[in-house]
Amino acid sequence: MHVASGCEGEPSGTILQTLSALGEVAVEPAPWERAAVEVALGAALAGGRGLAAVPAGALAAALPALDAASASGAAGLVVVACDDPSGRYAPPADSRLLAREAMAPVVEPSDPAECREAVAQAFELSERFETPVVVRISTRLADSAEPVEEASRRAIPPRGRGRDPAAAEALEERATFTRVRGLERLAQLAAHALEAPLNRLELRSAEVGVVTSGLAYGMVREALPEASVLKLGLVHPVPSGLLRAFAGRVRTLHVVEELEPFLEAELRAAHIACDGKDRLGRTGEITPATLARAFRPGAERAGAPEPVPVRPPELCPGCPYRALAQGLKRLHVSATVDPGCRAFPAFPTLGPVDRAPGQGAAAGVAHGLAMALGQRIRGRDVAALPDGALLQEAAGALALAAQGQGTVLICDVGGGGWTGSGVRAPGGWRVDPASLLAALGYASVRVVDPLDLGATAAVLREELARPASSAVVARAPCTRWPASRRPPMRVDGRRCNRCGACLRLGCPALSDDLESVVVSASACAGCGLCAQVCRPRAIEPCGGARS
């Protein structure tokens, strides 16, 4: 391939890092998913090969670009999308539905070795049928590993490409033209799917057959070793003829797929008797346990889990989000927050999270809330966003909110990403949040150090009282970056009265050993928040008090 673009997060960050290390591909991180797909589309329209990688659950944000790619008849464009059926890392959306909306074929590998092959085949499909191709993986597949032999790579010169015939059409005719072209293309792909090596028929028992795809395939093979299996690697367009032929060779047909009943719906629409989600349920991941419960009830050997204290996600020691949460807590505001670092809204003892509507949504939701409540929320209305939201979905809503009287709080971890903690793509873009907010029309824009609790609270108090829109940029680097770490703190056990004020910060580096609070020197990032909330002044940096 020639160009790869993608966003911070997983698995896109790792994909870009890996491609960058090859030194053969122009790799560029993008501030949001739509931009990543558009950049890769540009490479494809130039006659080259472009790959876009989007983080888990984020294909929806790139849908307009995928639509555009489909309408353009892009050849040489592959979009790697990742679904998270568990919902642990992202909303459990099904990329197949989004790709179908964009009339784009979907290739779905089952293991790491197939991932490499799937991308190669996806490029060939894209070039042969002049369409963007989505490669659908899952978070568990992204977190799987196995020895994979390195394949030889060959340089493919950009093909060069003429003008898109649709571009010459007037707007109205172009829509019809591209839709007709898309439907014709899907029909050709459906015919190709009948013979495509990506789809594999494994005939064993004539009694039981399973239609499956993705990571579930390996689990099906192990849970139902006697069953015949139709393993689909090209899942959209659904190869109806293949499904019908397979159904005719087995007495009972099961469908095992993660998230939506995509393949099952196709079978049912063709009046082919099967079961799937009624056995497996529509939520959560397919696991050996769910398969055992569905197909071999009573055979499961695992007993009930032991009751164990939960270990929830936490913010890192030294995280600027912890400091901001403390600042907001002191001010008794009504806070609408973006997820930001994922643990922010998940740990209520940290701060006053009243609403967490979703990534990039806080500014717009808080603005609408203020419009509805008016004076009743004046001076208490805060929308908190990470800096990564500025150029994503939030920019338009921030411009609207600038016309109101609320306060937006931007957590600027300095990397132009959501958290700074994920695998970071090489290179990178950087926008100064303060300049952008001023350009969007905020009457006041202030920059603070969130790790200075007193100063941050004072600035927030002033800005909340302002009878116009205001923005506070809380600037402190993500603590996962080594440069942000300072000497660790220590506790003077003679002064510590175990009041618990520092422990309530929820910092993993602090614990109570029954005589005094103690600091784990290896975990502490030296942010000094604990010292700021310690009334007996028992906590100070190793090596003496900080000036």
């Binding site: 642990r88 890392y89 293991d111 568990r140 977190d143 799987s144 590993a145 196995e146 020895p147 990571l215 390996g218 689990m219 093979r221 192990e222 849970a223 696991t287 050996p288 346990a289 055992a292 499961e300 050997r301 695992a302 007993g303 009930a304 889990p305 032991e306 164990v308 204290p309 939960v310 270990r311 929830p312 996600p313 936490e314 913010l315 890192c316 020691p317 995280c319 670092c341 994922r342 643990a343 740990f347 003892t349 903690s421 996962r480 618990g500 422990l503 309530r504 929820g506 993993p508 602090l510 614990s511 109570d512 290896s522 975990a523």
Partner: protein, 212 residues
């Protein structure tokens, strides 16, 4: 009769080195000539939360890293609570090697919950899997300079129980990134191996292959 894959769970909390241990075991199994698959379950935040690596290997095909429920052959846990969390996944004839450490949960740090006494944890683990032993893996790892090598200590101890030869472990130490850590890993593996003589006889017995 074909032998079914061996399944080992490597459990810990974020920052304890479970991922390092899982990657090392997978590399060692591959160096020993096995087919191998590894799957890692991470918490959404990097600072805390449970981490679990599932490593499956064997001379034949390994269709998936996710083995049948309740049939794992071994558990290497860097934390007592994490051992408890996953012990139900281990078959009764399997084994569990547990680091003598309890990383407090947020509720424990705040003093609103207490950690279960270590003796109780060990009793509950042994009630499920009699071949369970507790070793000071993190203490030994700290002697090397980093608790991240706790997984390597446990693997040094578990290698003979899993039938992984010493040269494969040695090769794995250099195969896992970062390669600069190979000397420390080798030291940790050796420290783990030195604990073998202290294990009860029943635990030192190397199990035969199970029928698929």
């Amino acid at each position: 009769m074909t032998a079914s894959p061996t399944t080992v769970l490597v459990a810990g909390a974020a920052g304890q080195g479970a991922e390092e241990g899982g990657a090392l075991l997978a590399a060692a199994a591959a160096a020993a000539g096995h087919q191998v698959r590894l799957a890692t379950e991470r918490p959404p935040s990097p600072a805390a939360g449970s981490v679990l690596c599932r490593v499956r290997f064997g001379p034949g095909a390994v269709p998936t890293p996710f083995g049948p429920p309740g049939e794992a052959d071994g558990l290497l846990a860097l934390d007592r609570l994490e051992a408890l969390r996953w012990i139900h996944e281990v078959r009764a004839g399997g084994f569990a090697l547990v680091a003598a450490a309890t990383l407090p949960t947020p509720a424990m740090r705040l003093g609103i919950a207490a950690a279960p006494p270590p003796a109780d944890v060990l009793a509950r683990l042994r009630a499920r899997v009699p071949r369970t032993a507790e070793v000071d893996a993190l203490g030994l790892a700290r002697e090397i300079g980093c608790p991240l090598y706790g997984g390597s200590v446990l693997l040094g101890l578990a290698g003979p129980l899993l039938g992984i030869p010493e040269p494969a472990l040695d090769a794995a130490a250099a195969a896992v990134e970062p390669a600069e850590a190979a000397p420390a890993r080798r030291l940790a593996l050796a420290l783990g191996q030195s604990l073998l003589a202290g294990l009860p006889e029943a635990l030192r017995r190397v199990p035969g292959p199970r029928a698929a």
